[in-house]
Symmetry: C2
Subunit: 244 residues, 2 copies
């Protein structure tokens, strides 16, 4: 039971519900079909029927959609403890693709596994709906970012959100975090060109707010960055368990 | 039981699961606390704690976020059969506001009601997670629209999506639908100015594709509009029940 208690997924769900021994045992079973996937090849394709969902145990991934003319919009990045493809496991076909950014380790979860969890442990079902709600709240923030934030605030908000999410699973702090994303990932997520991403990152660094260099994000002035981004982490709902 | 069988909410969930008498009875109980809300005053405020969710029985609403400098981004519109605020009922505070666009009738659903449904009818729980997944898939489409579609395609996609959603609950067809939205609603949803919305609607009308006038959307050439928008309704997952 020790392994599952320390898994990022358990750490994350524990922000919503204090989990019992029985519930941890169900989580343990959900983690049985572990698989490794190489960077760069899709786990799930847009339009794929009967796809599985995955719980990400190690590594980073991204979910994206391709338009017919070939442009890519990254919807979100997934870090350890996140579901991959939870949104579409109940839909007939996946509405998006999922690609590992580095080599990842993930446990396969089929729709039937989920229905069994729902039938046997309603508190876990609620915790999974909570995680789905939180994922959606993030997508909504990204929508607001694209619609209403300028490039500087959008980048600042993005780096702060990632930091808060990583902190929840023990992989980041107010000092910063390790980050495998390239400027192309940032461009496709933020609706910017790679050149524009470079310029924005340079401006934020020169203003003494944040440095993203050699796979490391360093918050040089956390509070001023929060002010620039108008970052309010309430939508991430990380303040401790609601269900005791 | 007759009323609940014909409710838009039941029609919508029936696209995911064929519901039993017992499950319909649980839905009936969820509809007990019916309330009426006037147009224009928020049901739920961004940042509000312990908010309820609602099932919309009649009328239209919108969910939105306000930025600190006062600009508004509409995240989505809700039509009969949709949840209002499902995303944040499990979160500590609501991450968005909800405003009725016309007078609405809605049934209040508390987090405890949801947990009870989860404990007693796992198939309904799965159906509610399906509805939440579908809502998120729509927000993702809007994100792609803002990030990667030009104004014409964005508007066309938006009008087609609304039409497909309304058709599912018996309120629209390939001919068109009744629509209470103003150009200001469209502007705040699509990240355009009201002037730009006007111009885009005129272009689509003059091209013989779609007419939006006097509260009525008329598809003048449905297939060409679909082609312009690259509209693929797969993400709406409306093709009939998965759970029999």
């Amino acid at each position: 039971m020790n392994v599952i208690e320390n898994s990022p997924f358990t750490k994350k769900l524990s922000a919503f519900a204090t989990l019992s021994e029985d519930e941890l045992a169900v989580l343990e079973r959900l983690h049985q079909r572990r698989r490794t996937f190489a960077a760069g090849s899709d786990l799930v394709h847009q339009g794929q029927p009967e796809q599985a969902a995955y719980i990400l145990a190690a590594g980073w991934a991204c979910s994206y959609k391709i338009q017919q003319e070939g442009t890519r919009q990254i919807v979100d990045f997934q870090i350890p403890g996140d579901f991959l493809g939870l949104r579409s496991v109940l839909l007939r076909t996946s509405d998006h693709s999922i690609e590992p950014i580095v080599e990842i380790e993930a446990a396969e979860v089929l729709a039937d596994d989920l229905l069994e969890v729902f039938a046997s442990t309603p508190r876990l079902a609620a915790a999974i709906l909570w995680a789905a709600s939180r994922d959606e709240a993030m997508v909504v923030e990204h929508l607001v970012g694209l619609g209403r934030r300028d490039a500087d605030a959008r980048m600042a908000h993005f780096l702060l959100e990632l930091g808060a999410r990583l902190a929840l699973v023990g992989m980041g702090s107010k000092a910063g975090y390790t980050c495998p994303l390239t400027q192309y990932h940032l461009a496709d997520a933020l609706g910017l060109t790679a050149v524009h991403v470079n310029r924005v990152l340079r401006q934020l660094r020169e203003a003494g707010l944040v440095t993203f260099r050699d796979g490391q994000v360093t918050f040089d002035n956390f509070d001023r960055l929060v002010a620039l981004a108008e970052f309010d982490p309430g939508y991430l709902d990380q303040a401790g368990p609601i269900l005791k």
